[in-house]
């Protein structure tokens, strides 16, 4: 089957790939660009482990063809912050035990960062709704919500910690 050229700006780096049109964006990132921080957790666009930013908006990269991102800017977890220069949401996940196995974490952090970019001072309910497309089996979400609120400079409404 024919391939098509795709130009992607990923984390500020320009790439030109020749790909099958059916190549999913998540596989372009993982298999072609070795950006394995973006995960796959389902077949049905439910889990959000694959969440990246497309021109600053959170999207599920398993439900996009790489060609649909042609000419666009993609930010992955690797581009959000680094060990020495963590994004506030990354830092907050670390401080608040917002992760256990870490598998949902890149998607959660990307969803959280996108929320804060849009709404820097969300309520707990708003945070919970912003995460409705992301599944975590480990944390029960408590500390994820707390992390995102913390990154926004707020503490969550819990009675005790």
């Amino acid at each position: 089957m024919s391939t098509v050229p795709v130009r992607l700006n990923v984390n500020g780096v320009k790439h030109t790939l020749e790909v099958e049109p059916r190549l999913l964006l998540v596989h372009a990132l993982r298999d072609k660009l070795a950006l394995t921080g973006t995960h796959v957790g389902c077949d049905t666009s439910n889990c959000g482990a694959c969440t990246v930013h497309l021109n600053g908006e959170a999207v599920k990269s398993c439900t996009m063809l790489a060609v649909q991102a042609d000419g666009e800017e993609v930010t992955t977890i690797e581009g959000l912050g680094t060990e020495d220069d963590l994004h506030p949401v990354q830092e907050a996940f670390w401080n608040n035990h917002g992760l256990q196995c870490g598998y949902c974490t890149p998607g959660m952090i990307m969803a959280g960062a996108a929320l804060l970019a849009e709404n820097p001072d969300p309520s707990e309910t708003e945070v919970r709704h912003a995460l409705e497309g992301n599944l975590c089996r480990c944390t029960g979400y408590h500390n994820i919500v707390k992390s995102i609120l913390d990154a926004a400079g707020r503490s969550s409404s819990e009675v005790s910690a």
Binding site: M1, S2, V4, E20, P21, R22, L24, H27, D43, T44, S45, N46, G48, T51, L54, E57, A58, V59, K60, C62, T63, M64, L65, V67, Q68, D70, A111, A114, L115, H129, A130, E132, G133, N134
Partner: protein, 280 residues
């Protein structure tokens, strides 16, 4: 879980897109946000031979008010609708579609052309009495929402037609509300009811009620509407009218909801939607 192979083109004009559909034959499909089509392709429940991506076609975006109606471009994503409160019921409905990521990508045109019986926007189109514009090789036509949805995932949009825009009458002065019943907030509707109400003092001057997932196509709860129109908007009258919401429906049962339960939910959701429309 990946799509089967296909050819791909991203034409830069509406004419070229239509031509690509014509040339591609019956297995060619338009691609908008891809959030209905790609999931089906990943599960190999759909396997188009050619995808015609609309993303470079100009003029399919945006929301503008023209006189008594809004013109909404087909590629407008749900997220944009959600943050356009002037759209009334449509903004409220868009806000509860799936999750933020899906709302960023999924488009109103895609949702209406696709016609999934559980999707949220179609019923809202019915009660706003919207019209869509379809552009095909033989020109342009307009179809009312009432004529758009034919059967389960079957709409009046022809295989070689592009849904380009939606004309949404501005229901100035109407209250509106959407009650979607699902198990989790990211889920499709088990049953949902949307309502728009025009009150004159405490009297119901007009009311329209739409039902989601009560049939292969979205429905108007006309018996309930008729029962309330012209009546005092008292809780009792609303409840009485809502009791008629499932009249004539026979939704298929599934794992999570029997036919009876869905009909019950339709009545409850309709009552709540009407009642909340008065507040908003």
């Amino acid at each position: 879980m990946i799509p089967a192979e296909f050819h791909y083109t991203a034409p830069e004009s509406l004419e070229d897109a239509i031509q690509a559909l014509v040339d591609g034959g019956e297995d060619a499909k338009l691609l908008a946000g891809g959030h209905s089509l790609i999931p089906l392709m990943k599960l190999r429940l759909a396997a188009p031979s050619l995808l015609v991506d609309l993303r470079k076609v100009p003029g399919l975006h945006g929301i503008e008010r023209q006189d008594g109606a809004f013109r909404v471009g087909a590629l407008t994503p749900h997220r944009k609708l959600e943050f356009s409160p002037e759209l009334g019921i449509v903004a409220k409905v868009a806000a509860v579609i799936a999750d933020p990521q899906v709302r960023h990508r999924g488009t109103i045109g895609g949702s209406l052309a696709h016609g999934d019986s559980a999707s949220d926007l179609p019923a809202a189109m019915l009660i706003t009495e919207a019209e869509v514009t379809l552009q095909g090789p033989d020109g342009q036509r307009s179809v009312t929402a009432a004529d758009l949805f034919l059967d389960y995932m079957t709409t009046a949009v022809g295989e070689q037609e592009v849904l380009t825009e939606i004309r949404l009458p501005a229901l100035d002065g109407w209250g509106s509300s959407y009650h979607k019943f699902n198990r989790r907030s990211e889920d499709w509707a088990m049953v949902a009811a949307c309502a728009v109400v025009k009150a004159n003092g405490s009297t119901c001057e007009d009311v329209r009620i739409g039902l989601t997932n009560m049939a292969a196509v979205p429905l108007r709860a006309t018996a309930a509407e008729d029962a309330l129109r012209g009546q005092e908007l008292s809780p009792e009258n609303i409840a009485k009218a809502a009791e008629l919401a499932a009249e004539g429906t026979d939704p298929p049962s599934d794992l999570n909801a029997s036919t009876e339960y869905k009909k019950h939910l339709a009545r409850v959701m309709a009552r709540r939607a009407i009642a909340d429309s008065l507040a908003a």
